[in-house]
Amino acid sequence: MKNRITVIDYKMGNICSVLNALTYLGYSASVSSDCREILDSNVLILPGVGSFRRAMMTLCQTGLDQAIVEAVIDKGSKILGICLGMQLLAQSSTEDGKTRGLGLIPANVERFKQDGLNGLKVPHIGFNQVTSESDSILFKDLPSQVDFYFVHSYRILPAGLPGKAAHCCHGETFLAAYEWDNVFATQFHPEKSQTNGLKLLKNFLLEVSPEK
């Protein structure tokens, strides 16, 4: 059976950029905000730009929050969360007041700590070096230290997480990418990280959807 890739549209993602990258890599995906379609897909991509609280409100109002959790937990669908999409997979965020997340990554999202920054700026914007583990699926055939494009003010700390983590440093070491069973996530934007990002997306697609 051909795997069905769905990019989840909750009106806050840079959907177009994600689709451009998938098309470049020769994959087609549907864009949907329909719960049934989400439940029918075995590969989900959750992009996102904007505020955590606003995004969760939209997901809850449309029932997409439950559809995503059901698809990933009960049906074993694979999911890739990108940037805010990764943060939404966590348990909670403190952005605009504490807000519950989808709970697929056992961690909390908080703003970069001001006292650790030593003159570094927030938002953390630009290419920064990511260090990955050698047996990572996402980073297969990429150098162990590789540049990816970030744009965010909130982050997850990697301590105590199950699964495989890739790290980045901006005043403190934070979670740059994550993979745990069928949950994949990147704090950076692979669709905005030139060929490094295209390669990472290709690795994800080959893992979850070997046929185009």
């Binding site: 177009c16 505020s51 003159g119 938002p123 630009g126 540049d147 494009y149 905005k192 060929t195």
Partner: protein
């Protein structure tokens, strides 16, 4: 370590890409022309970020601008900031759905700060870039000009920049009208208008004509990114060469393997 960025700025208006010199515009060609003569989707693999500005002076064609952006962004895998005439959340949303990642605002920063605050609360601080056009007056003081450089604001640029800090924008794009399009190098004195320990990223624009100019911009500790809109000096293999030159000279730019000519990247 966070790396500094090289940004290429494209000026677009009335269906054409433009060259600007001290804010006087000259048409150079449409999207087909850009693709045909300069193989834009290939050279885009040699910049870290793209800024696309609608510089139309009279009546803007928003739909045409979005359409151009959708085409342009199809082969571009780096962040794209878009600006020029954006006055509503709906316009911003449509641009973000057409390939933009950030919204750049200039005149509304001063005329409609409440609109800029709404952009920030809707799309996040990281999504909003404040763009300022600066010019030195006869007394040597920098002032900000809005409405495509046609209207001067009272008060000094440094006073305004202090005020902008309270508007929670994500980045500052500083352009020198005096140096714009001259290819004679950046005006570093515009950076003196910033308070020390400026907390958000600063993009320096206006005047870069060669790799050395980009290098001196990057070397300034107040600068997070350097931009150039000089289509003729850098297009062709100009950006590719400039980038290689900077990396060879030891500047830490983001690294990736670019595709060879028109080949898709050796990704498989």
């Amino acid at each position: 370590m966070l790396k500094k960025r090289i940004i290429f700025t494209l000026l677009y208006g009335d269906g054409q890409f433009m060259l600007s010199r001290n804010f006087r515009l000259q048409r150079v060609g449409n999207l087909d022309w850009l693709e045909r003569h300069y193989n834009f989707s290939h050279i885009s693999f040699f910049v870290d970020e793209l800024v696309v500005l609608d510089v139309t002076r009279e009546k803007r064609d928003f739909d045409d601008f979005c359409e151009m952006l959708r085409h342009l962004s199809r082969g571009c895998f780096m962040p794209i900031a878009v600006g020029g005439g954006i006055r509503s959340l709906d316009q911003a949303r449509e641009l973000l759905r057409s390939g933009a990642d950030k919204i750049l605002v200039n005149t509304p920063v001063f005329d409609h700060p409440e609109f800029v605050r709404r952009l920030v609360s809707e799309f996040g601080q990281q999504c909003v870039v404040a763009s300022l056009d600066l010019k030195k007056n006869s007394a040597g003081t920098h002032q900000i000009w809005v409405d495509s450089g046609s209207r001067r604001l009272e008060d000094s640029a440094s006073k305004w920049i202090q005020w902008i800090l309270e508007q929670s924008v994500g980045e500052l794009y500083l352009n020198s009208i005096d140096q714009d399009g001259t290819g004679q190098g950046y005006d570093f004195s515009i950076l003196d208008q910033l308070p020390s320990n400026f907390p958000i990223p600063v993009i320096l624009a206006g005047g870069a004509g060669n790799a050395h100019h980009l290098a001196t911009g990057i070397a300034d500790c107040r600068v997070d990114a350097v931009a150039t809109a000089h289509l003729f000096n850098f297009i062709g293999d100009g950006l590719e060469k400039a980038r290689k030159e900077l990396i060879t000279s030891g500047i830490e730019l983001p690294l990736w393997i670019p595709p060879i000519n028109d080949q898709k990247v050796n990704l498989i």
